[in-house]
Structure formats: C-alpha cells, structure tokens
C-alpha cells in the first residue's frame, strides 16, 4: 500500500522505535521519530506530520503535557494525536481523550498489524 502520509512517532524506547518504524515503513508511511517531548514539538513544526503517535511516559515532559502544548498551538492543534502507551487505566484513557487525543492504544494489547490499522483509520477518517 502506497501513500504519502507522514507519522511522527514519539517514543523513548529504542527497540520499540526500531520495530514500529520498520512496520510503518513497510506499510508505506513516511516515519519521523522523536525521543522526548521537546524533540517532538520541534519536529512537529519541521515535518508537519499527518498523525502523531504519542507515548506518555517520556523523559522530561510527559505525553499529557506534550498534547496540551500541541493543542494550544494554532499551527499544530488540528493534527490528530493518538496515544500509544502502556498505561491503560481507565483514568489515563479518559484523561487522554479529554486532552483531545483521537485514540488511545495500549501497546501490549495490540499487534503491529492492529496498530497500523488504527493509524490508517484515523488518517482516512480525517
């Protein structure tokens, strides 16, 4: 499947980044990755991604703070954000949605295929 969508992956675990980048590239996406919140905010402006997949537990600023910054910025507030995290308590999920995330994916509960499908769905629904 070929498309021109760019996904910004915010994740600090190198091994997970490697796997996810590989999978998304195989599925025809352009992938940019950021290892922390500040890096992510910078790359959002440089790369103008179509979708941001955001981890919550990150060095420095956490994912909830990152999404707040993104939603408060006129130039980035319309980019869909999906949380991709291993936090999965009801409270976390509700908080994520309230801050404006379009999806909340618990990493361990889904296969790579499912994650790609969820991303695809967000991009086509956009």
């Amino acid at each position: 499947m070929e498309n021109t969508y760019t996904i910004l992956l915010v994740e600090d675990d190198n091994f997970l980044i490697e796997i996810l980048v590989k999978k998304f590239k195989e599925s025809g996406y352009k992938v940019v990755h950021a290892g922390n919140g500040n890096d992510a905010l910078r790359k959002v402006h440089d790369e103008e991604p179509d979708l941001i997949m955001l981890d919550i537990i990150l060095p420095g600023m956490n994912g909830f703070e990152v999404i707040q910054k993104l939603k408060n910025d006129e130039t980035t507030k319309n980019i869909p954000v999906a949380f991709l995290s291993n936090l999965g308590q009801k409270e976390d999920i509700e908080k994520g949605k309230k801050l404006g995330a379009v999806d909340f994916i618990v990493k361990a509960n889904h296969s790579l295929d499912e994650i790609v499908k969820r991303a695809e769905k967000i991009l086509t629904d956009k």
Partner: protein
C-alpha cells in the same frame, strides 16, 4: 465470652490477615478488627481474673482448662488448672456431680445451681454454692462446662435486716466505698477502651444530651470533650456540625458520608436500649485514610502494569515481525508459540488487575444503553487479525437481520465478558474447529423483562461433567483445559460471571466433552433505546 474463645477468634483473624495481604483495604479492616479483638481479649482476661466470683472452664471430659484468681484462692491451689486436674478432684460427690452435668441438657439455657461439697488444698471440705453451665461453640456444639463456686455462708444467708447497730452501718459504708471504687475502676477501663477505638463514638440520651464523646471523636471533629459532654446535641451547631445534628435527629440508620471539619467521614447512627434507657450511638469513621490507601494502590497498579507491559510489547512485536519474515516453517512455528505465550501472560496480567478491581467492588459500574453488536464486532475483528499470524479456528459472527435492542450495561465491563468468552473458545478449540456467535431477542411480554441473548459456540474440548459445577469458581481450571493450555489463571469465567451478575443478567452453558461448548448470556435490554 471467655478469653480462650476470644483468643481463638483473634488467632483466626490473624491467619486470615496473613492470607489477604494483597488487598489493602480489607487487610486494613481486618487489622483493625484484630486490634479491637486484642483489646477485648486483654480486657476480658483482666476482667475474669479480677472477678470476685471463682470460675473454672472445663472441657467435656471434666478436665480443667482455665481458672481465675478467685478460684485459686477459694480452693487454696496456686494454679488449679495445672497438671490436668479434673473437676472430680474438687468435688468428692462424684455421682451427684455427674447427674447434675447430665441433667444440663434438659434445661433451657443449660444452667443449674446446687450446693456441693468442695475439697480444698488442705483436705478440708466445705459446702459451696456451685453453678454449672454448658459451654457451646458458635455452631451450638457442646464443648464443655463453666463452673462457678461461691461461699454458701455468704450468698445463702438471709438478707441482712436494715442495719440498726452502728457496727452494721459501718460495714455497709465500707462496702459501699468498695463498690464505688470498683465502679470507678470499671468506668476508667471502659473510658480507656472507648478512647482507644479508632472510630469516633458519640452517645446521645433520649433527651438529646451528649452522654459520651470519645477522645477520637473529639479529635476528629475538633471539639473539647469537657466542653460538650452533658450538653444538648444542639451545642454542636457552634462547631459548624449541622449535618451531623440532622443525622442524629433523623430516623435514617444508613451509613452516610459527610464532610465535617474539613475531612470526609462515614457516619452511622444506631438506636440502643440499655436498662430501659434509650440511646443514639453515633460512630464516626475517617475515610481520608482509606482514600489515601486507595490512591496509593491505584498508582501502584498503574505503574506495575506499565512496567510489565513495556517489555512484553517488545517481545510480542519482535515475534510478530519474525513470524512474518522467517521462511523456515519450523522457525516460524517457534516464533508463533512465543507470540501466543506472550499474549497469555498479558491476559493473565490484565485479568489479575481486573479481578482486583472488580472483587474489591471499587470499580463502579457506569450503566448506559449499550450496543452489544459493536462490542462483539470489534473483538471478533481483533481475533481475525490474529488469525493472520496464528493458526486459530475460524470465527463467525452471525449478524442479526433486525437491529438488536440496546442493553443496559457498562461498556468496559461487557468488553471483558466477551473478550473472556471468545478467548476461551479460541484457546480450547483446534485450529480446524469453528466458533460461532449468535444473538437473539427474548420477549417476555413485559417490556422491562425483555432481554438479549448471546451465544458463543465452539467445537472445542468441552467441559468434563465433573468440572461443570466448578467452572465459574475462582482459580479453578478443568483438567482437560490445563492439558491443552498450560498457561491460564482460572479467573476469566469467575470475573465474567461477576460482571454478568452485576448487570442482572444470567450466564450458563451446554457442553459435551470433545464435542464443544456453548456459553449463553442473557442481558436485560435498556429502558432507554436512544
């Protein structure tokens, strides 16, 4: 209640406490209970030993198990219960004693009084007023006897005529002094106990006067004991405790949560009757500590879940990539097995987290009008996605022709139910087998009684007849299930049943070993179909 029995209960609680360490709130409550029992035990021990009446506790064979100080001084032995002494050692009229004990069965309340000859240490015999009572355990089983003895000269003497001589009067005054001293000691004891209880206690008389306000209650409500005891309840108005006054004066006996003096408390009010006098007893339970523990627990669970899931994600995804990349079928199979095991661990982790929440009743239900079809579809889709990686049985969901009415349910909880049932069907069915899901509507005529029925059938290993009765029990796994899938926690169906029950629904199954199983769930439809 004799100290022994208290001790037994307390030990039992300690044992329970040891086993329930996992649940903070419960162990907290039990610890409190244990402390209360320990206080009570000490109190009873002091009380029995201090009791002027000589008492012995005897087992069914007549062996003396325990005695108090008064019994020792009455009989002259230092430790009458040592060395396996029996009742007959003290009462030479063996036959009379036997008859008396035997006759206890026929007497309501099981108590008899009689004057018996008592042999004391020096060998001298004296007549003693003896009371015999049956000892029973909580289930009513006869476990032995209580024996109390008193001096006959004292208690059977005719009541002293109103004293005229100054000597008699003097004696009486002395007696009264003794009594008031006893009462004062008693009072001090009670006050110490009541002040030692972690919940605050207030006692109100029928005239609305504050009769007692424990130290804990005073601290909780920022009151001074001296300032309010003996005053009308209305006095509490000054401390801004109007909701508490309303509760005390109201008729409602249900426990109620309220904010008082900047903290959250659970207040319950009960009526009590003592010697014809009516009292209102108020207990105040501070829940901010419970809340704190609860918050700690949630944080812990959330952190633990995250820490376990992170490495599992790496393992799961790398195996998934391997399954897709490896060309050698044997190697692919190894990777597949690894992938499946990772999934099993995740299920167990998630199951235990759910169990903890559901069992402790802290996970409240949020009932809405729910579309069951959407829930089933999304999970069936997930399972079908896995079919591309794993060899699994095919799964069919027969969509209803007409839209299904919505059920009254909690979305997240029902997801757990269908996830558990579908996962089980997949796990215990060979890859050549089949899983079918059907839905139907059951109309009872009475609108509120209508329900939606969902069935999940597989062609799997089935549930052996011997296991069918226990299949919904916590941690239970049937033998054939254990052989097919060595991993598994045995909590899925337990949780499922709990959740269906909380929805006022029913769950049952039909199963034939080696042929397959069908689980049925019936859930009441929602009153609001929007």
């Amino acid at each position: 209640m004799p100290p022994q029995i208290l001790r037994y209960n307390k030990n039992r609680i300690s044992v329970i406490l040891y086993f329930v360490k996992t649940n903070n709130e419960q162990s907290q409550k039990l610890a409190r209970l244990e402390q209360d029992l320990r206080d009570l035990e000490n109190y009873m021990e002091e009380f029995t030993h201090f009791l002027p009446l000589a008492v012995a506790i005897v087992n069914l064979e007549g062996v003396i198990i325990d005695t108090n100080d008064a019994f020792a001084s009455f009989t002259g032995y230092e430790n009458p219960s040592a060395g396996g002494a029996v009742l007959h050692d003290f009462f030479p009229e063996v036959d009379t004693l036997k008859d008396l004990l035997a006759s206890l069965d026929g007497i309501p309340g099981g108590i008899r009084r009689s004057n018996l000859t008592l042999k004391t240490k020096g060998g001298t015999e004296k007549l003693a007023r003896t009371t015999l009572a049956k000892r029973q355990d909580t289930s009513g089983r006869h476990t032995g006897y209580f024996v109390s003895i008193g001096d006959i000269g004292e208690s059977d003497a005719p009541p002293a005529p109103r004293a005229k001589s100054s000597k008699k009067q003097f004696d009486n005054i002395n007696n009264q002094d003794d009594k008031s001293e006893d009462l004062a000691t008693e009072h001090r004891r009670h006050t110490t106990i009541i002040d030692g209880i972690r919940d605050g206690i207030i006692v109100i008389t029928s005239k609305g006067i504050i009769d007692l306000l424990s130290k804990t209650a005073a601290e909780m409500l920022s009151l001074e004991q001296e300032a309010v005891i003996g005053k009308p309840v209305r006095e509490l108005e000054r401390a801004g405790l109007e909701p508490l006054i309303a509760k005390i004066e109201g008729e409602n006996e249900e426990t109620e949560r309220m904010e008082l003096a900047d903290d959250t408390f659970e207040i319950s009010v009960r009526n009590a009757d003592a010697d014809g006098e009516k009292y209102r007893i108020v207990t105040i339970h501070d829940i901010s500590r419970d809340q704190f523990l609860e918050d700690m627990k949630l944080t812990f669970v959330s952190v633990a879940a995250h820490q376990i899931r992170t490495p599992l994600s790496s393992i799961r995804w790398s195996l998934e990539l391997l399954v897709n990349q490896l060309e050698d079928e044997e190697q692919r199979e190894v990777a597949r097995r690894g992938y499946r095991s990772t999934q099993n661990i995740l299920e167990i982790v998630n199951g235990i987290l759910n169990l903890d929440k559901i069992q402790s009743g802290q996970d409240s239900y949020d009932f809405q009008s729910i579309d069951i079809i959407e829930i089933i579809n999304s999970y069936v889709q997930e399972v079908q996605d896995h079919n591309q990686i794993l060899d699994q049985p095919d799964i069919y969901f027969e969509q209803p022709v007409d839209p299904l009415p919505k059920v009254r349910g909690d979305q997240d909880k029902l997801r757990i139910v269908f996830r558990n049932l579908i996962d089980n069907a997949v796990k215990y069915t060979e890859s050549e087998g089949q899983i079918k899901i059907n839905t139907s509507v059951h109309v009872t005529g009475d609108y509120s009684g209508d329900s939606v029925q969902i069935s999940i059938s597989d062609t799997g290993i089935g549930i052996p007849p011997t296991a069918q009765e226990k299949i919904f029990s916590k941690f239970y796994r049937a033998d054939n299930a254990r052989l097919t899938e060595t991993d598994g926690s045995g909590i899925g169906l337990y949780i499922t049943k709990q959740i269906v029950g909380a929805h006022d629904g029913t769950i049952w199954f039909e199963s034939t070993e080696n042929k397959g199983t069908t689980f049925y769930i019936e859930l009441p439809i929602a009153q609001n179909q929007d």
